[in-house]
Amino acid sequence: MLRHHLLSAYRNLKRNKTFSFINIGGLALGIAAFLFILQYIGIETGVNQFHENADRIYRVINVDKNGESWSELEPGFAARFVENFPEIEAASRKDNGITSGVVQNEENDLSFREADIHYVEGNFFEVFSFPILAGNASGLNEPNTVFISKSSALKYFGDSDPINQNLILHNQFGKTIYTVKGVYEDMSYNSDFDMDMAFSLETLKNEANLNGNGWANLNNLDSQFAQTILLLKSNTNVEQLEAKLTAYRESVSREDDGVSFKLQPLTEMHLGASLNDPLPTYGNIKYVYILGAIGLMILLIAWFNYVNLSTANSLKRSVEVGVRKAIGADQKSLLGQFLMQTALVNLIGFLVALVIIILCRPLFNEMIGKDLPLFAHLSPSVWLIGALALLLGTLISGVYAALVSTRFKTVETIKGLAKSGKSGSFLRKSLVVMQFGVSVALIFATVVIYSQLDYLRNKDLGVDAEQMLVIRGPAIYGDNFDSRRNAFLNELASQSMVEKYALSGAVPARFYNFRTNGFTHPGSKPDDKYNSYAFVCTEGEYFDTYGIPLKAGRTFTPEEVRVDWNSNSKVMINETALEYMGFESAQEAMLEGIQWDERHLDIIGVSADYHHLGLQSEIDPIIFYPQQYGQFFSVKLAKGDRKKQLASLGNLYRQYFPGNPFDYSFLEEDFAESLQAEQQYGLVFTTASVLAILIACLGLFGLTMYTVEARIKEIGVRKVLGASVASVVALLSKDFLILVVIALLLATPVTIYLMSNWLSDFPYAIEINGWMVAGVAILALMIAFITVSFQTLKGALMNPGTTLRNE
């Protein structure tokens, strides 16, 4: 019997090619999208879960009175916590981005600028379970030791054994030599901590290794730069411990700032506990939910097609059902037969989906911004849920289609009197409305996302980003560094391709030197001293090079930037800072100056506002502080062959700063990179809306085909009575277009609400306008109309003589 069912199903699919193509094609796309997204969700929910002690590891988070939270802690707390609270088994610190610099292997003269490197506690590889390939996990307890990833080992040492070899780290703490004591498996997509090298934090205990950076003292309770992770003993009451830690903080803190400690489980560090979890996370649970919903909706659209086309087709198959009943088939075997067909369609769809997955992996990886292997290692439960979802959908759509197809009374089918039920057609219409509702919503969202992206890309930043090359200054100094630097700068200035250049400690699109508060003047309000200002330490050419006009005053002179940090008494500010400080005018500010804690600073100039961090945040109040020799060389290039320009600048750079990697980027690209998240959204929504509308249109195409088939006699009669082709097409299309209009009416308000919500996160955003609504509506109607007209035209053009003939 099973063979019989399979054979019938197979031959049926072969005979009804359009039906099969639409269903299998739609399901393949739907299942592929679903599996991709399932894999993504599986990976996202699996991040950090592999550590053996995952259930006992917590990250300490600061939460202030306003509910703002951040993970950087004063490093002095770690040891004190362990000492005072017996429920804490161990504390492990990891800096948050103070390590980056140039790493050098002197032996083979290899050096690279490294960003994903960190100082970590000696017990880091004991607390966490990153697989160690060489060396002993405890090896990092000694100062001046480093663990490196497998890739880094290959990068710096090639085939030779890296253990006990030396690496030199040149960063803000000067030049320090480290010995490689361990190699670990590359940290990958299953870990939030993703570092290429782990330097022993212990090294910074030695004052000599701080290079005058007193703030980095490991015992201090003043500057926040290290995440502190606690390994708790089993059965610790976390809430009580949080209270105790907060109380302890109050007892040792000098300021009463109302900050309390929260303990974030390692298992929630990636996505948080829920959508409303306010604590900082590495991942984005919202994105997981959105993608999950999109995947499910696309799959549903495909299943809706199956249900719709099967039920629309049921009339055609009713005779077969009637005959089978008459020769002895019971309901069970008929259901079995139809279910077998559903299973076959889904199975073939699944196999095609696997091919799609293999082919489309690069696109998918780009969408989620990760480099995933073909079939990532996921927990079995994820696959189980996926398999269950697929089975359930297959079963529900199959059983429904089977019930509809077998519900006819035998006698009616044999007499040719069977009619499609009203209820079935209502369901079909509802499903079409849902399909188009989802498609319209996705298209609308795509339009909004790209309009916003376009707006952000084209809005004037107030900075001349064109042809702006940003070169990282050298980190490896060597002998006679000052004279070599001056020689390099002279060479740079003499190049015809260099229009202007400037040295600064911070550049647009790349954060500031730092932020700080404590600025007042006689006219300021009491709370003004808590206002935080961004610092850009720079030489005077910065403004001219970046095309930032001055609103008042002047810029720094070469003499002023040479003054020692603590002796300096002159700053510049931007217009926003002027406003923050509460000055009436630039003149007033320049007359009065400003107080920074104990120091008085003269304001010598006010610059126009510009978007230092791009358009995703409001313009910050900035204080420009005179400092020479910042780490960024900003070079405004003349138009010309970029490759040649870069090559000759690179040669110059390497000639004067041997051993240093020539790292550069173009400011335009840096700004574009800051829109990466939005670009990802755009790509995801484009793909999703194309898929959704494609599958929905496949279904619509099939439905029209059946409708035209069922009404072919009516069409013939109408034509005989004098109906024009246009009027027949209009008659047939009308029913479907009404459904699309209903879908538009339902989906548009929901999408406007959701996308306005999304836009409200941007300080600079477009407004959703009538044109977008109208554009999406026209597009959806046009797509639907074109889809429908293939069949309606065919029907309308048919010769009534053929269609009305009784066979």
């Binding site: 019938s8 005979r15 008459a326 020769i327 002895g328 007499k415």
Partner: protein, 221 residues
Amino acid sequence: MIKLNNISKYYPAGFGKTYVLRNISLEIGEGEFVSIMGPSGSGKSTLLHILGLLEAASEGEYLFMDSPVQKLNEKKRTELHRNAIGFVFQAYHLIDELTVYENIETPLLYKGMKSSERKSKVADILDRFNIVGKKDLFPSQLSGGQQQLVGVARAIVSEPKVIFADEPTGNLHSEQADDIMKLFKELNEKDGVTIVQVTHSEKNAAYGERIIKLKDGWLDV
């Protein structure tokens, strides 16, 4: 074998009902060859469908092999379709996706017969009907007469007690029609199968032993 007592069939129409069959009482014995005749709309097909358990009567009593049909559940009815009743349709109603062989085999499949037994039964029938050479063809590859031959083969493969045929030759040329009628005659005489057919043609009706005439839903005596 078949006994109808005051069978009526009506459909609701507006506030009243439209009668298709009125007060039919008749008996058909085992081994009979009966033709039902009557003008279009006289209720012939409805009567045949009621006899064949495809449709239920609105009123009256129907005894099929001495058991009251109205009281049978779906399962028992399917049982009867599998074992006691065979159908032949005017439009043949072969299953398009199945070959000749498979079409004939299907009733046996539903009966739950073992594979080896099925093979020999189908082979016998193919042989008897002289269509062995056509066994792998699909219905669309056959002429009307050949299709109906397969239709009859399918009806008798499960060795039913009775065959109900609804204008079995309505779509055929007279030559083909004669062949089918001869086949019915042979089945009736040699195999003792009861045959009840609906027909328009006096000639075809003459193959049977008895004619039941219907007019406007009444038995026309």
